[in-house]
Symmetry: D2
Subunit: 400 residues, 4 copies
Amino acid sequence: MPQLVIEGQIVRDNLLQAINRFMEERKLRYSIVDFHLGARNEDPSSVIIDSDIDPEGMDRLSELLKDKGAWLLGREQGNPVLLPSEKDRTVPDNFYSTTHHPTELFLNGKWVPVRDMRMDAVLSVEGGGVVCRKLRDIKKGDLVVCGTRGIRIHPPTEKTRLEEPFAFMGAEVSSERRTDLAARTLAAEMKRIGAAKGKIVFVAGPVLVHTGGGEAFSSLIKKGYVHAFLGNNAIAVHDIEADLYGTSLGVDLQTGLPASGGHKNHMRAINAISKAGSIKEAVEQGVLKSGIMFNLARAGVPFSLAGSIRDDGPLPDTEMDLLKAQENYAALLKGAELVVMLSSMLHSIGAGNMLGSQVKVVCVDINPAVVSKLRDRGSMQTLGIVTDAGLFVKALDENL
Amino acid sequence: MPQLVIEGQIVRDNLLQAINRFMEERKLRYSIVDFHLGARNEDPSSVIIDSDIDPEGMDRLSELLKDKGAWLLGREQGNPVLLPSEKDRTVPDNFYSTTHHPTELFLNGKWVPVRDMRMDAVLSVEGGGVVCRKLRDIKKGDLVVCGTRGIRIHPPTEKTRLEEPFAFMGAEVSSERRTDLAARTLAAEMKRIGAAKGKIVFVAGPVLVHTGGGEAFSSLIKKGYVHAFLGNNAIAVHDIEADLYGTSLGVDLQTGLPASGGHKNHMRAINAISKAGSIKEAVEQGVLKSGIMFNLARAGVPFSLAGSIRDDGPLPDTEMDLLKAQENYAALLKGAELVVMLSSMLHSIGAGNMLGSQVKVVCVDINPAVVSKLRDRGSMQTLGIVTDAGLFVKALDENL
Amino acid sequence: MPQLVIEGQIVRDNLLQAINRFMEERKLRYSIVDFHLGARNEDPSSVIIDSDIDPEGMDRLSELLKDKGAWLLGREQGNPVLLPSEKDRTVPDNFYSTTHHPTELFLNGKWVPVRDMRMDAVLSVEGGGVVCRKLRDIKKGDLVVCGTRGIRIHPPTEKTRLEEPFAFMGAEVSSERRTDLAARTLAAEMKRIGAAKGKIVFVAGPVLVHTGGGEAFSSLIKKGYVHAFLGNNAIAVHDIEADLYGTSLGVDLQTGLPASGGHKNHMRAINAISKAGSIKEAVEQGVLKSGIMFNLARAGVPFSLAGSIRDDGPLPDTEMDLLKAQENYAALLKGAELVVMLSSMLHSIGAGNMLGSQVKVVCVDINPAVVSKLRDRGSMQTLGIVTDAGLFVKALDENL
Amino acid sequence: MPQLVIEGQIVRDNLLQAINRFMEERKLRYSIVDFHLGARNEDPSSVIIDSDIDPEGMDRLSELLKDKGAWLLGREQGNPVLLPSEKDRTVPDNFYSTTHHPTELFLNGKWVPVRDMRMDAVLSVEGGGVVCRKLRDIKKGDLVVCGTRGIRIHPPTEKTRLEEPFAFMGAEVSSERRTDLAARTLAAEMKRIGAAKGKIVFVAGPVLVHTGGGEAFSSLIKKGYVHAFLGNNAIAVHDIEADLYGTSLGVDLQTGLPASGGHKNHMRAINAISKAGSIKEAVEQGVLKSGIMFNLARAGVPFSLAGSIRDDGPLPDTEMDLLKAQENYAALLKGAELVVMLSSMLHSIGAGNMLGSQVKVVCVDINPAVVSKLRDRGSMQTLGIVTDAGLFVKALDENL
């Protein structure tokens, strides 16, 4: 009967349960022969199991363990299988599809870390290294990693899951949590990252402006807590509309009443920026004098606006070629330690796909389904705060 | 061809459209013979119509107009039909079912206002007057108003609909509104009512405590803005739990983390109050020293806790006989000028049913469906604010 | 250094992780000395740990393990602490607050199962046995179990969690699941339980009628799949309104349009039943001829209607004394193997509180928050299906 | 005092109320001098008003009336103001921003209908005619309509609002409606349109596949009720994943359980189509054999997939240049009589922006906020059905 040696965070990641379930489902017999607990909490543990598993089962088990950042040591690990792509934008059928966890490939006798790690991509061996590529970027002849041999991944430890500061948010997404406490905790985390010269990126949708959070968010920019900004056409349009005409979607921000003729203000805002040439030029020409986009431009914070099928206009700054927009997003997210997503499901999922699992993600939305969806799609490190974006950003600003 | 004289707020309430639709649906011919607009905006207008309508149609039209606060003058109005109840808790089949608008009955040649007006009840003539009774309070022999003859009702004018201060909330229920503006406006309205010695009643659910609004709400009580308080067993239990053990549903309110053994704290809170005898006695004995219930008791603000099928315990103060609980609620709501409902669908609907349409109602909930439901069930004067209850009450307190 | 022997479903319930976290949080040193895996999957495993834990820590650890159905064997277990109640409706301060899992007490040298197990209650020793009592039912002098000594609980195994048939629903509550598959699976489970003479109880709210599920639900009753029915006043009123007048909340069920004068139909329905005396009498007198309540009465299925603060009328069958209503619910739920909850948050939580964790619970609601709430409050065995109640019951009926 | 003659659907569109409110807000005095009701229901009515309004007020009133399809006849109407654009993609500051209602411009003494009408665009006079252009399509020198003079618009009459078949859905968006009735009614409307050779377009998101509606939707295609299909990358990917591997997002569609290695199936699906070249080629090569995309391709139904910032892959058929994608959408929507939107907020809003108000729109989503948002953004003719997309399409198919 083959003997398997499994190494990983066996206790923390509950691997015995997963193995037990795996064996039961396949009606395999097994027994635990030995169990070594790591000396310190962060050390890997190992377990030795006897089982009547066959080679195909071992492949499946290996895949399962890899998903959890563990690996089989009791079998010939060997080198990964590398096969060439036969056509641009395609890979061999049994290609390895990536997670968003830090990953290593066993190349030439040692573990080599994968560069540009992201979810739902493939691994391509280039030079002596290995890089994570989107399917559409694969060229005919690229060497693509297939199967699961010679790969190991490192899911986040408890600490990188933000568990310490945000433990109270729990796994369940609920509107029945103390949001003032969440604001205070996020503020403390932002201060800590700021002090350590870490990078904080914000993703936001127009609801931030509609719910009156524009001023508080501008304050965050001025205080230096926004290091890059990702958004859609609409948030920029409505922010600029607020600056130029005092309305948001035609509604007067001071009185809350529809302004006379206000329904065309968002089109007027687009027209004004188009006349100036771009947001930056509008700021330089004194056309735009306040608000989120003004403060981003004045503070020199890089931003990227990505287009969507529903965009009017759009603004000259909005990138309607989404291949380029995805590249812009990825470039601004590079090196982020914390990403805060405010009321924008689509752009949050888009940004989430580009993030390695070591990045802390906080998602604020009044709709609990948005956070659930983000987690469903793999960004398990996401912490959700179900609340009103405008009031939340105010509370955040008061704590910074 | 009969000639109908219709009197009411023809312009403001769009009666011509309603009449036009009514005639079309029944394929009746009609023409407008004359139209008198009231001299001032508040004055009723009248319209004279020729139509081939039959008596049954006139009854239906009369019913339709009554729903809108208008009435037919061009037909014999006569006295209302009064029939005796044949059995306790029952009424004759064609009984008149009330709206929650101020209503008058034509008795002995003059219009007499109905006392204790509420929705989904019946009219009973007693002494020389007329009173609104719940079905279950009707006794055999009571004279019940039947049909629609001799009744006229007065829906709220624009002004009592809070349109001036809250116009910006609009009819649509949405989470994309400025909630800080809503808080500021509600605060101003509360100040105005407070200065005029008007009565403000709050209805609240436990989410107010879970989302951290307890302290701010206590501040509202201390400032004198809470004149009566309606709630369920749970809000009192979790508020007391917060005072005695610093947790809400077992979660530490300072750290947000589950407290060790905290899951039993709400049962301990009930036990502590039961030992003291009641909330009031717990305050007097120094057992309860802070929080919403403490401040209500200390300030002498009357409160009523109504039971529900899900209640643990309950607290000795919670009324589990709902006939009595409904009476308690109705008594505390009497004379209210403004009712603010915080995160409690069931108790909000319960209170809403008891309110005349002249009372201003503001409903705050993170779930837009709650406000929609409240309006669906007839409380059309309700203004909904879709936001986080805890943060909202804080914003409200900061503006008072 | 004390040595702890811990026994339980160590692998399945991930106890090593829990212990590890417990030790870390308290900065305790510990090492695993030995680990015995149970021979078969259902057998308990045991682990022996050396740790510098103190007696207070051992109490806390014991409490933690109990919550998970495990226990410390390496310390003096002894007899439970029993203290008398000093006042009706109260218990000693350190009383044991129950979970809804099957529980045993160590009495006179052996483990005795607790009767009438339910959540958030206390244990009272009477005669030679032990019974679970609601706080309000405790009388002065009753012997109440305090602390956590001598108690062991048995959380559901995987199988009773319905994991096999409903595994696909997963832990996350989402509207993005195949609801036709859920209907098919629930139907199969109902057939299985029906064939084995098991008991199926339904809890339902008025949305079942509004969304057009009344006919399909009546079919379930006729086919013998409804063994008890729990609901509020509103579902009965609207079901009867549908039978008598063809409307639900005044809306014609055939055309979907508001019926002329329809807004008073629910009051007419209450009046009609009040005249007959009760629902059963209305069926016998031929007043009520179809619908859910009719079919329940004709088939002799026991039902209980519990009142709420928002009830109009109510129907003579609706119990407005909620202490009695809770008893009625508990009596009908007794012996249930499966409880299906349809679109009624309040009554679902109410029923959920009364159920032992071995009972399968399926909760159907269009609002994901309802299921999340039910699970938050402890009914972790609940499986949620986020869909339209009317269409779901139709799909269920088609599969039976 | 100037005399205003206002012509339009004064009764149906409640213009007197709007005028009354307008006058009150500006503290203008006015009196109704005469009122002519149109002979038949569809005929315009007119009203003559004396008022102390000034020219600026007349402009505002004119704008207000235009929004409602009415116009001032009592003032010099004259020709529209036409100004040239000074720069590509920009228009003069007081440009006229379009509604989505059919619109006419007063050119050379007669009313000329605007071509390619859509919302939030501008009017450009070219040749002897007038065309609706998106801001970004305006070239320097184009003659743009400014102000509100010489424009009249025609909002939908009651009938084109689908009021007859769908009146029961009402204006309020609620999950408490009979969805089987909605399915039956929509089916009848689709039959009617189909029989009259009208065009029906569907917009759909991936939830349609996740909730199991793929098969029923394929049946609609086969029956000839889908004349064009708009969607995002995800619905095509998950539909193809279902065909090739029997999973949706890695979940087995038969068992509902996660398939082993299933998380990479959506990437495998993209890879398979990329290898074939396109969806059409995959169908021709026998790679793709069932499902929505297969049936669309086989039946020759035109479809357009529009990219988004969150897209993996994407499929070779997905257009990532959103300017082109918007053109594709607009081309397929041209001539549509009915557009049915299934569970896709973004693409529904996108398509909604491109539709004239005479097009019937039905929006099906389990989240009431989606429909509310669609209406908020101007597509007031939208009828919302809050239900489970998968079950709804099944019910729809059963009625066709």
